[in-house]
């Protein structure tokens, strides 16, 4: 009885932590917004320069080459010349965009903006800790993996997205540009979770009482959260690519577009970031599906029966397989591949939200 009371207390604590995390995410949202707004004061417009230089280079066949030639740089340190390592020059297979530098990030070159950006990252860390605390207390309170129903799944999905983002930051990958879109959608997701999807059920039906519950479901959550990061990058890529194309063809993008786009990484960087995530997650997603099939085989007597959940997992998988194929096929790189990556995430979300709510599926017992 006291145990039950303690668990109930923990469950309440978990709910409080979710709300606390949401409050901090809201502040984070404001801080990222401030970073973007203040950053717009700085004047950065390197893309156009790079692209126009490149165009000039195209006119004069060989003129562009010297710019790319490496030199063995000599760095002055303490008065003596210290030889550096040989400098590596790299060029991509889309040479026209090669010289386009990455934008400086949302803060532009504005110091105040940068301060807000740093504050936003610190707040993200704080919110993440609260958020993670909520997931952990929930797990203890219910005595099982905190992914037994849609409410818990949504909360966990958001925590994975944020963890991925912070992980990249910790690994010194410059991804602060992900912050604003990510935190915005995380807030939406959590809002949906605490209102529409809230479910205080703790018990799992016997069919879910299996080791696969500890493998299949958390892996699905991890895949979803990371695919989502890849998709944000793909969306930004589409915008940035259009911007660059416009510049390269001599167009004149609007002031707002220029201000925002100049601060994002180059289309090449965005595209690669998206690819790296999707390529790394795809095998995990494949394993997730296989694990689900093994589980279905023991619980339902068949490993695959085209249940709506299975079907949409398959569709998601095929979409990403198509994406990877597209990347390997010349005519399909770039924009079309990005559309496929976005389609992949949409399929994942349909599978998660749509199938549970609107479809008649054996997986429906998660509880809305």
């Amino acid at each position: 009885m006291t145990l039950a009371a303690a668990n109930e207390g923990l469950a309440d604590l978990s709910n409080t932590l979710v709300y606390a995390a949401m409050a901090v995410y809201a502040l984070t949202f404001l801080a990222y917004t401030a970073e973007w707004i203040l950053g717009s004061r700085s004047k950065v417009a390197r893309t156009a320069t790079a692209l126009t230089a490149e165009r000039a280079g195209q006119d004069d066949a060989e003129a562009a080459v010297p710019a790319q030639r490496p030199a063995v740089t000599v760095r002055e340190a303490g008065g003596t010349s210290v030889l550096e390592r040989p400098r590596i020059v790299s060029r991509s297979t889309t040479p026209a965009r090669d010289a386009v530098p990455d934008g400086p990030g949302a803060a532009g070159e504005d110091e105040q903006g940068d301060t807000y950006g740093r504050i936003a990252v610190s707040l993200t860390v704080l919110a993440f800790l609260l958020h993670l605390g909520a997931v952990i207390t929930r797990a203890v309170a219910v005595g099982r993996g905190p992914w037994g129903n849609m409410y818990e799944f949504s909360v966990a999905l958001a925590v994975v997205g944020i963890a991925g983002y912070l992980g990249f930051l910790a690994a010194r990958t410059p991804v602060r540009w992900l912050g604003l879109p990510l935190v915005t959608t995380v807030l939406l997701d959590l809002g949906l979770a605490v209102t529409v999807l809230y479910n205080e059920q703790t018990q799992l039906v016997p069919a879910l009482d299996s080791v696969w519950m500890w493998i299949h479901v958390p892996l699905a959550i991890v895949c979803g959260g990371l695919f989502y990061l890849g998709a944000i990058s793909a969306v930004l890529y589409l915008f940035r690519d259009r911007y660059e194309t416009k510049l390269a063809t001599g167009g004149q993008p609007g002031r707002l577009a220029t201000s925002v786009m100049e601060r994002l990484p180059s289309s090449l960087t965005l595209d690669r970031f998206s690819y790296r995530i999707n390529a790394a997650v795809f095998p995990v997603w494949t394993f997730t599906i296989v694990a689900g099939a093994i589980w279905a085989e023991t619980a339902w007597g068949r490993y695959w029966a085209w249940d709506p959940k299975e079907t949409w997992a398959f569709i998601t998988w095929v979409a990403y397989a198509a994406y990877l194929h597209a990347r390997a096929t010349a005519g399909w790189k770039g924009r079309r591949a990005a559309y496929l990556a976005i389609a992949g995430v949409i399929c994942f979300l349909i599978n998660y939200f749509g199938v549970n709510i609107f479809f008649d599926s054996l997986h429906g017992y998660g509880g809305v």
Partner: protein, 602 residues
């Protein structure tokens, strides 16, 4: 592809030349088909046609072969593979929106009743069984034909690549995706020796090219396993598909409801429902018998989970063909394996145990009757048929009862008698009684859970209302006019078991795991080439050039080159650049490099 530095006519600029160079240098770095630029010319219905029937025949044959080759080349191209993948994803969608036969029979029946017109359209389009429809099958079969047509040549090609040596350096290394150069005082020979040793030490396959043609250089390549991974992945998909097909052709699946204390034998005649694949041999059914000793279902009694099941367990005894008996338990996530059959627990419910006497006072029915659950609190409905009853007048007068069994009885205006909790806290059997002709002798098959009342008359009570009575265990109710009585002795639980055997499961598992391993290899490993070239420059110093090329664009190719260059500078230390802009041999001036990409084409 041309070795010549001049860009092809009509194209200009460094990009095209560089791309050409890069493509040559990257030749054979993958077995992926080169991007076909619609070069294949089909028969085109043209060409000379010799007179006479022989000529027409030859022409037709030539055309047919031409078109077939063109079609085959299209089908096995990456572009078509991509389109087919896309179509496969699209084609899977309707099956998740429309109820499907096999998974949701009830849904299909329901849909047909509500939309008769639309159902006809759906039937024509095979939308009630999308995943076995002609069009869905066509897509995946084409995809797999394409896959095999793609994989086989790639495998041969790869074997060839394994035997071949790393491609020679392209003429202009500075056009590779990663490039570096520096000057050193170490002699070119020594630099190349060091580079050769370094690359081999890092498990590159490396060759030294000193020779007549071209400047001496080291060519190295690594990451062949990536290709292996890719081929393994695609081959595993074929294994998976075959395993899937086998699973569809060789399977047997039967369902059986078993009341506590009773048994069944694994025999097709014993099943309530049974289906099997077209090629399954019914003699292959595993022979065993199974008795359900006890079934337990427990449910949460408090909190937000009230009524949620916590445990389903069936205690069973089974007898295998060798006559031995085994006791075991089956629960939802642990099926029982007997030979190649698996026995799964898939449902449960209550079976009220009743005794019926007829107008002659004889016991004409005695035993448990399974009632079918209608909701999660196990409100159950059922029918008791007594065909052997004889009326008080000595004439056959069949009896039947229809009603509810509620483990925790409650009754209200809206729902009538129902159950509020799935465990038997207050078990009550509520029945209506009928007599007359059950229609069981009519020859038409009857559902044991349904009552055909066309030739039956419902008893009325003393007040003239239709007779309905509630019974608790131990109660007996006498029917009017001395036609008999019914006693509610108690109740048992029943469980439904599914017995399935399916071939190909192991292959499906092996295929999918191999696919994952292959994928990881294919996506995580990088196949790349590194070239090191060293020669004595105009000023008498040694110029070192290094370049790397990866099959896929990756930030790690330049990073790796940097590490290699760094290691090489130990043997070939950097000299500071005296002419910051001039650099070493200006790459602009195309130094002739005759043998350039000769080897690169393999």
């Amino acid at each position: 592809m041309t070795d010549d530095a001049t860009p092809p006519p009509g194209r200009k600029g460094p990009e095209t030349a560089a791309d050409a160079d890069e493509t040559t240098a990257g030749g054979g770095l993958s077995t992926a088909p080169a991007e076909e630029e619609a070069t294949s010319v089909p028969g085109s219905f043209g060409g000379a046609r010799a007179p006479g029937a022989g000529g027409a025949l030859a022409w037709t044959a030539r055309e047919a072969v031409g078109w077939a080759r063109w079609f085959w080349r299209q089908l096995t191209s990456m572009r078509v593979a991509l389109i087919l993948l896309f179509l496969l994803a699209l084609a899977s969608i309707p099956g998740s929106l429309i109820p499907q036969q096999g998974t949701d029979e009830l849904g299909v029946r329901d849909f047909r009743q509500r939309n008769p017109g639309l159902s006809d359209v759906y039937d024509t389009l095979q939308l009630f069984h999308v995943y076995s429809s002609v069009w869905f099958s066509a897509i995946y079969l084409l995809l797999f034909i394409s896959l095999v047509g793609c994989i086989l040549p790639r495998s041969w090609q790869f074997v060839g690549q394994l035997r071949a040596r790393p491609a020679r350096a392209p003429r202009r290394l500075d056009r590779m995706p990663a490039y570096t150069t520096w000057r050193t005082d170490t002699a070119p020979e020594q630099v190349l020796d060091a580079a050769h040793g370094l690359l081999r030490g890092r498990r590159f396959r490396a060759d030294r090219h000193v020779g007549a043609a071209g400047r001496p250089h080291v060519a190295a390549e690594k990451g062949y396993l990536r290709e292996v991974g890719n081929l393994v992945f695609h081959l595993s998909l074929v294994v998976l598909l075959v395993a899937f097909a086998i699973g569809r052709l060789f399977y047997a699946e039967g369902g059986k409801l078993v009341v506590e204390g009773t048994s069944f034998a694994n025999n097709i005649t014993m099943y309530d429902d049974f289906e099997s694949g077209t090629l399954y041999d019914l003699d292959d059914l595993e022979r065993f018998g199974l008795t359900l000793n006890d079934f337990q279902a427990t449910f949460a009694r408090s909190g937000p989970d009230l009524g949620t099941p916590t445990e389903f367990t069936a205690d069973v005894t089974y007898r295998t063909d060798d006559g031995r008996e085994h006791d075991t338990t089956i629960d939802v996530n642990t099926p029982l394996r007997i030979g190649d059959s698996r026995v799964r627990l898939i449902g449960h419910g209550f079976a009220p145990d009743v005794t019926v006497t007829d107008g002659q006072g004889d016991v004409v029915y005695s035993g448990p009757v399974p009632f079918i659950p209608q909701d999660s609190a196990l409100t159950s409905t059922g029918v008791i048929k007594v065909p052997d009853a004889v009326g008080p007048d000595g004439e056959p007068d069949q009896l039947a009862f229809q009603g509810f069994f509620n483990p925790t009885y409650n009754v209200d205006e809206v729902r009538g008698p129902h159950s509020t909790f799935p465990e038997p806290d207050f078990p009550v059997l509520t029945l209506n009684a009928f007599h007359g002709d059950l229609g069981v002798d009519s020859g038409l098959p009857q559902n044991v859970y349904q009552l055909d009342t066309t030739n039956m008359e419902q008893f009325t009570g003393p007040d003239g209302d239709l007779l309905r009575f509630d019974m608790q265990p131990g109660d007996t109710v006498d029917l009017p006019d001395g036609v008999g009585s019914i006693t509610f002795e108690g109740f048992d639980q029943w469980a439904t078991f599914q017995v399935a055997s399916r071939s190909g499961n192991t292959w499906a598992l092996v295929g999918s795991l191999a696919a994952i391993v292959g994928l990881v290899g294919s996506l995580m490993l990088r196949r790349r080439r590194v070239w090191v070239r060293a020669w004595t420059g105009d000023d008498g110093r040694t110029v070192v050039e290094m370049a790397a090329l990866g099959r896929t664009e990756s930030a790690r190719v330049p990073a790796e080159l940097a590490a290699l260059a760094d290691a090489l500078t130990r043997d070939a230390p950097l000299l500071p650049d005296d002419a910051p802009d001039g650099g070493p041999d200006s790459p602009d001036d195309p130094t002739p490099e005759s043998a350039a990409a000769e080897g690169a084409r393999t």
